[in-house]
Point group: C2
Chain length 360, copies 2
């Protein structure tokens, strides 16, 4: 049976000041009216019943997740005591779900990506789930690159796979880390390399076996937490195992070491919205190239602005170009679009200053 | 006896969004902790008792004035039903004060200028008041120009006057309107022209006589309002006379037409703080040229910024230079310093849009 696992992590740095430690990117309405988390849930609902949708998040974000997703069953909310990267997070979800449904196949999706249209997403995932179940394999989704993006991982495809669905599928030849510009251009030239979307479909049993093979300590931690789940030892075991488990991503720890991984070409549009500068690609710009969310912009010769603020807040911009302006109740950001990546560094600095940390 | 008349007008456009229609510049703390209005009152207190300090303002600002100046006697607050420029405003103050004290000498000062130090101000005003009383003349204060400012009026001095005080004084040769750049440079070169500060000292009887001579309709309106003052006809007469009286400044209507006006060189520093760009001259800049009031600025390569916001609000600026950033609860302004004059035009436009007018 298909289940969905929404991974709602993130530390709230890249979209500061709109995002905060307890309200990272997936809590924001960066595309459409619903938040990215709510949209991820809505997409999952096209594929599975609400009772089979799970969210892995942090303790600090758990309350926000529950508020945003009133349909989410309390027992399907997995709140990690501390972030230990994706291998344990996704593996634990697999372990907990497999304990109830040993034949479970999981759609694993980040909560903070922008994906559409939902129907095309559901169609691709259905085909991938059939393939994963039949072939007992981990399936990733690759996105045909449109430009030499240096902020994404890439996946090189190998032999083509015959399968019942319509989307092209291949055995993964290798995973490639975020490339430099020249390498990214070579990938684009070669035409056999896809953006690694960070979405997966896998049978729970397959990923648990892979964890046992490649990350035995992590697999053991998962077994112990699953055994204690629902007992009065749950919190203690959860915290204890997380305190010592290896901090490693599912990509490094499992996918790159697995015997066979399959990549299905995504039949949907996809963006991980890595910084404020990516936002201008999601919203329609006005005739001056300005994109505005929430707040209202009055510009005098203002062009190519990315503006976000509280509903009802008026941003007046005179004679400025290419700036990101983000207004919130207690903090305002002004930054050229092309330097939006630096927000992350800025927030790291704010967090080291005791008097500024409360703003993060 | 010396009285002080603080003229608290202004429409709140140039310092938007910090200033609004009901809270123009004099209500802001642009220099020091106290508002400009409170500072004007404090300076007047060095010269006269609280009971002899008067404020002329608009009905919409009257409540704010009373809140900011708890020492101000209610009967000394003159709230105009509508703005009709300075001739009637200053003339009416003279008429109302003369009705109680026919020998009154008035210090007339805008509420929204930045002046200091207070002791030097008091000293100059005392000397000017003695001169005005003894010579039965209107005295203006001229500021020695430091650069060819095109936003100020100028006053050309004529024959030097012997008087008991220390400050140089001259008969005014002529008043000069805001000059173009070349003319301003010629004034500076010639060395016989001073900035017209907009502060005056005059015996009430002298200015009332001058009004009768040069603006008889205005003088008549003043007489009628003074006659009705304190009666149940006050509001009706006030509104009726203001609805029809000529809209003219005291400069055009009286000073330029008077037989003799004296200019005393100001022994104090003075700025009319005409726009956000002037603010950077009032505050000490940090090592990056940034001046900050109220809010807190965290800059990454941010230089020559003028930042103003609510106390506790954090403004984060990455890689921007020479911008004015003004944050308020419901509106935020971003504007290059050198285009700060355009804020006025912007606010005029906002006021013409029914849905944006509430922000002004």
């Amino acid at each position: 049976m298909l289940h969905a696992v929404i991974v709602a992590g993130g530390s709230g740095t890249r979209f500061w000041p709109a995002s905060r430690r307890d309200r990272p990117k997936q809590f924001l309405s960066l595309a459409g009216q619903a938040t990215l988390l709510q949209q991820a849930h809505e997409r999952a609902r096209l594929l599975v019943d609400p009772g089979r949708i799970h969210v892995v998040t942090s303790e600090v974000q758990a309350r926000g997740v529950a508020e945003q997703l009133p349909d989410l069953s309390e027992r399907n909310l997995i709140a990690e005591p501390e972030p230990r990267d994706t291998a344990i997070a996704m593996g634990l979800a697999a372990g907990l779900i497999a304990a109830r449904d040993p034949d479970a196949v999981l759609l694993v999706t980040p909560a903070d990506h922008v994906i559409g249209p939902p129907e095309a997403f559901a169609q691709t995932v259905s085909e991938a789930a059939a393939l994963a179940e039949q072939r007992r394999v981990i399936v990733t989704f690759g996105v045909a690159p449109t430009h030499p993006h240096t902020g994404y991982g890439y996946v090189q495809r190998g032999a083509a796979l015959e399968h019942a669905g319509e989307r092209p599928a291949w055995i993964v030849e290798r995973f490639c880390e975020k490339p430099d510009r020249a390498t990214a251009e070579a990938y684009l030239q070669a035409g056999d390399t896809l953006w690694n979307s960070g979405l997966f479909v896998w049978p729970a049993a397959v990923v648990l076996t892979a964890l046992r093979d490649h990350l035995p300590r992590t697999a053991q931690a998962i077994d112990r937490i699953v055994a204690a789940w629902g007992t009065d030892r749950q919190a203690a075991v959860f915290a204890e195992e997380y305190a010592s488990v290896e901090k490693i991503s599912i990509d490094y720890g499992v996918l790159e070491r697995a015997d066979e991984v399959v990549v299905v070409e995504a039949g949907f549009s996809w963006s991980d919205v890595g910084s404020w500068s990516a936002l201008s690609g999601l919203d329609a710009a006005d005739e001056h190239g300005n994109t505005v969310r929430g707040a209202r912009l009055v510009g005098v010769g203002a062009r190519d602005m990315t503006v976000l603020g509280d509903p009802g807040h008026l941003v007046a911009a005179i004679g400025v170009e290419g700036l990101v302006i983000v207004q919130t109740r207690d903090a305002t950001l002004i930054c050229p679009r092309e330097r939006a990546e630096e927000v992350r560094t800025l927030v790291d600095e704010l967090r080291r200053a005791p008097d500024l940390e409360p703003y993060t």
